[in-house]
Each structure stands twice: as structure tokens, then as C-alpha cells.
Symmetry: C2
Subunit: 183 residues, 2 copies
């Protein structure tokens, strides 16, 4: 039986809302300035973050990390997308993919629960295309330029319930809940 | 007076050779599997590496980190270039810059000496353009596709002494030596 009293480590109100959408309840969050490991593997970044958060708080934590893998860059930048976003913004990222006629990308989210019993990892991913101009006021980060497969709307345009249903983060949360139920 | 008995933390024979070229003597190296911090600032990456190396070895260390800042990506990927290199290789990186008619880039190297007295930071940078096809068998990493300003040869084609003279790493080493002499 895993602890149910975990806190979500994030300072991002968008990530909090998406967790609450899936869980159907308020989620306690803690903002920690966690150093992140340089890696192209989400799981590695997450493991280090979960360990650090657990050491600091000594209570069950859920940490999250998200990557955007561009087809045209062989999967780069993945978890390093936050730095690319900072350098050239969502439109800059989309422009590279579109200019090269390879607009495909995978949005990936991993969640890790860490408590005294160890850790549980869950993943969700969504394939889509990058589009310009960006559309929609919802979401955050690169949401306005990411259009999930099978959709005509971007993450930025999707109602929260739909984004949760088909989005990478919603899928990761449901996968985590399922694992916790099964544990 | 700073310690002269530092070791260089690197497992890269090319980096070792370039240090020896400037110092004019053999350089003792130690390969440590140091975790690197995610950041777009070389100095931040280096500070964490130096601290970790010092804690592990408890002897004076010099750590190094290098970045490649593409004009066309607003300075990205900087210190994260190793992951981009892994994903799409030197040619892939050069292609993005050339396709967009913005081939300019800055190669930057930072060195940090850490000993019991604290740390000393030195930097060297070289402006250039990315070229395709890559040329030359010398150097390593993206050397074949980087042509320093004022040169018709790439880093990969330059004799070691010339690369040391005008290259980012040679400049960083000379800056470090100067600071140590002045200290």
C-alpha cells in the first residue's frame, strides 16, 4: 500500500491543474528549486529529482518532467526542451520542424512517486505535429503550437477535459494511478 | 599561491592534448563520471562539476565544459550541445544553421580550478561559422564543421598549435594560467 499523502513538486499552476483534472480533487503542491541532471533521458532526470525531493522533504513526493521530441532533430531536445523554449520560444521551435517539412513530434511526460518504500514510475506520451501560427490561450509552454494526432485543435485550444484525455500529462497521471492501485 | 598539483577531470584525449599544447607539459587526468546540471549557463554547470569533483577527490581539480552557441537558435544549445550532437551529429547541427542562412556560432570553453582556497574561473571563446561538408580529421566532436572567423580551415583541419592559438579551449587555458600567475 503506497502513501496517499504525497505532495506534487511543482511551481507550475498549469501542471497542478492537469493533475487535479485527472484526480478530481485538489492536489497539494510544493515548489522546490531542484537541480536537474543533464540528460536526454527523462527517466534519468526524474530519478535524480525524486531522490533530491525525498531527501529534502522526507515525505512522499511526486515529481514530474516533460519532454518534446522533434522528429526532425532525431528526438532532440526531449527533456531539454525548457532551455530551447527559453532561447527561441514555442514559435521558434515549431518553425524549425515546419521549415524542414518534418513537423512531427512526441510529447512525453513522466511522473515518479517516491516514498519510504522506493519509487514508482509512470509515463504518458502523445504524438502530434507542430503548427504555426500558434493557436489558443489555454495550457502553457509550447501548448499553442502542438496539435495532437487526430485533432484539428492545438493543446492551447483544447478544453481541459479533452487535453487531459488525449494529452501526455493526463495519460501519465492515469498510468500512475493505475500502478498505485495495483501495488 | 594556488596549488600547482591539480588534475584535469576529463576522459577525453582531445581535451587532454589541447591542455598539454598550451601548458607545454604532460597533464595528469582523472576520469570521473560527474553528473552535470541542466542549465544554459556554462558557469553554473561548471560550478556544480567542480564542487562534486573536489568533494570526491579532495585534491585540486580543474574541470572543463564547452558550449556551442548557434546564432540561428538564439544561443542554444550552448552547454547542452553534447546531447544535440548525440541526437543528430555534427553534420545535423551544421545543417540547421546553414539551411537558415545563419551559419554563425560561438564556441565557448570554461575552465574552473577548485582547491581548498576556493575556485578560479576562466573563459575562452571563438566566433566562427558552421560549414558543410565537414573537413579534416583533427580534433573531435563538432571540430570538422566549425570554421573560426578569419580562417579558411575548420578546427578539424587546423594544426594543433594553430587551433590552440585561436581556439576557444586554448584561449580558456591561457586565461586560466594568467589568473593563476596573478593570484
Amino acid at each position: 500500500m503506497r502513501a496517499a499523502d504525497w505532495v506534487l513538486v511543482t511551481g507550475n499552476p498549469g501542471k497542478r491543474r492537469e493533475a487535479e483534472e485527472v484526480l478530481g480533487r485538489a492536489v497539494a503542491c510544493v515548489e522546490l528549486d531542484l537541480p536537474e541532471l543533464q540528460s536526454d533521458r527523462l527517466e534519468e532526470v526524474l530519478q535524480a529529482k525524486a531522490e533530491e525531493a525525498w531527501q529534502r522533504l522526507r515525505r512522499p513526493v511526486v515529481v514530474e518532467d516533460t519532454g518534446l521530441e522533434l522528429d526532425t532533430l532525431g528526438g532532440f531536445p526531449g527533456p531539454l526542451v525548457k532551455w530551447m523554449l527559453r532561447a527561441i520560444g514555442p514559435d521558434g521551435i515549431a518553425r524549425i520542424a515546419i521549415e524542414r517539412d518534418e513537423p512531427g513530434a512526441v510529447a512525453r511526460c513522466m511522473l515518479m512517486l517516491r516514498d519510504g518504500g522506493g519509487s514508482v514510475l509512470a509515463e504518458g506520451s502523445t504524438r502530434g505535429v507542430l503548427v504555426l501560427p500558434g493557436r489558443g490561450e489555454g495550457g502553457f509552454g509550447w501548448d499553442p503550437v502542438f496539435q495532437p494526432e487526430g485533432e484539428t485543435r492545438t493543446y492551447g485550444e483544447l478544453p481541459a477535459a479533452v487535453k487531459s484525455e488525449i494529452g501526455h500529462r493526463g495519460r501519465a497521471w492515469r498510468a500512475l494511478l493505475e500502478k498505485l492501485r495495483a501495488a
